[in-house]
Symmetry: C2
Subunit: 212 residues, 2 copies
Amino acid sequence: MAETSQNVETDATRNAKHAEKMRKIKAARDKLMESKTEEKGLIVVHTGAGKGKSSSGFGMIMRCIAHKMPCAVVQFIKGTWRTGERDFLEQRFQDDCIFVVSGEGFTWETQDRARDIAAAQAGWERAKELIRDPNIQFVLLDEINIALRYDYLDIDEVVSFLLSEKPPMTHVVLTGRNAKEELIEAADLVTEMTLLKHPFRDGIKAQKGIEF
Amino acid sequence: MAETSQNVETDATRNAKHAEKMRKIKAARDKLMESKTEEKGLIVVHTGAGKGKSSSGFGMIMRCIAHKMPCAVVQFIKGTWRTGERDFLEQRFQDDCIFVVSGEGFTWETQDRARDIAAAQAGWERAKELIRDPNIQFVLLDEINIALRYDYLDIDEVVSFLLSEKPPMTHVVLTGRNAKEELIEAADLVTEMTLLKHPFRDGIKAQKGIEF
């Protein structure tokens, strides 16, 4: 019984800490919003188990290139199925869009946690430089939510950086399923992609143009 | 009371008709699926009130261009906010992607229903040609769900065409909120974009790169 009540207390402490943390994020966000003009750089999150989180990020990159807005992509998941976007941007738009892959190690397949963490951290360091760069107006952090979910990156550091160091007019888009609550709280625009129907259930494999 | 029971009967008839229609769509879809191989052209729907329906469609177009898959876009809503994609594709990728705007009349602003219907119909006729074209592997019907919702196009005709005349390997992506049930039933892959948080509520206007 003593142990149970200690657990309850621990849960209560954890809940209180969480509530306090969320309150602080909200306060920082409210402060940021006070300074808002008609236009401002947004923190945008695409999450959920459905399709379109990354591809709409890339659609937005295409819009930026169309509008001659300098932009950048940091890919936090490396995988062969992402080479469509990578080849396209690297080969055709190297002057319009900076393209960074966060590291060799960090893929769905690897089991090497230390290497994954190092790759994610290297990607985040590069992401911070790109976000701070006053010439870059739009930064896509593709699949960063996966790195956050597994605590390869510290959610508090990421949220705090976005709220305090992102230049006011810079847009940052963060994609990946299971977006952390702290990030959703900090964001301006959050979309959840929900799967209503998926052909994999019918035995159809991932295909060019659709999935990669 | 007589009137009420008549209404009930009418509802019952309507429900039975609807059930029969859905059963037919399912049967046609099952027949299509029987012939499936590992890869097949998909009917993809992006719907819901959230962001990313069109931009992920354009991200997929970018993937197709990267993979040198000939593709096409038919825009069923014309509006100045869509010129980012249009300029980009028309100016830089006229050899990779055919770009069609369904008509001058069909915008959110117009009140001229007859003109809107004519524009939507003209777009659909062009869409059918593009889908039938054996050289084109991917067709994006951007915001067609709006035209379907207002019955500017006949849902039965569109679904029947997709199930019976789309070449087996061609992908067709249909976007727009309020996708009709018949279309969802016929589709292979359906994603609903749900809005969790939106900056317009905080007085931030639509911005380049994000919205258009």
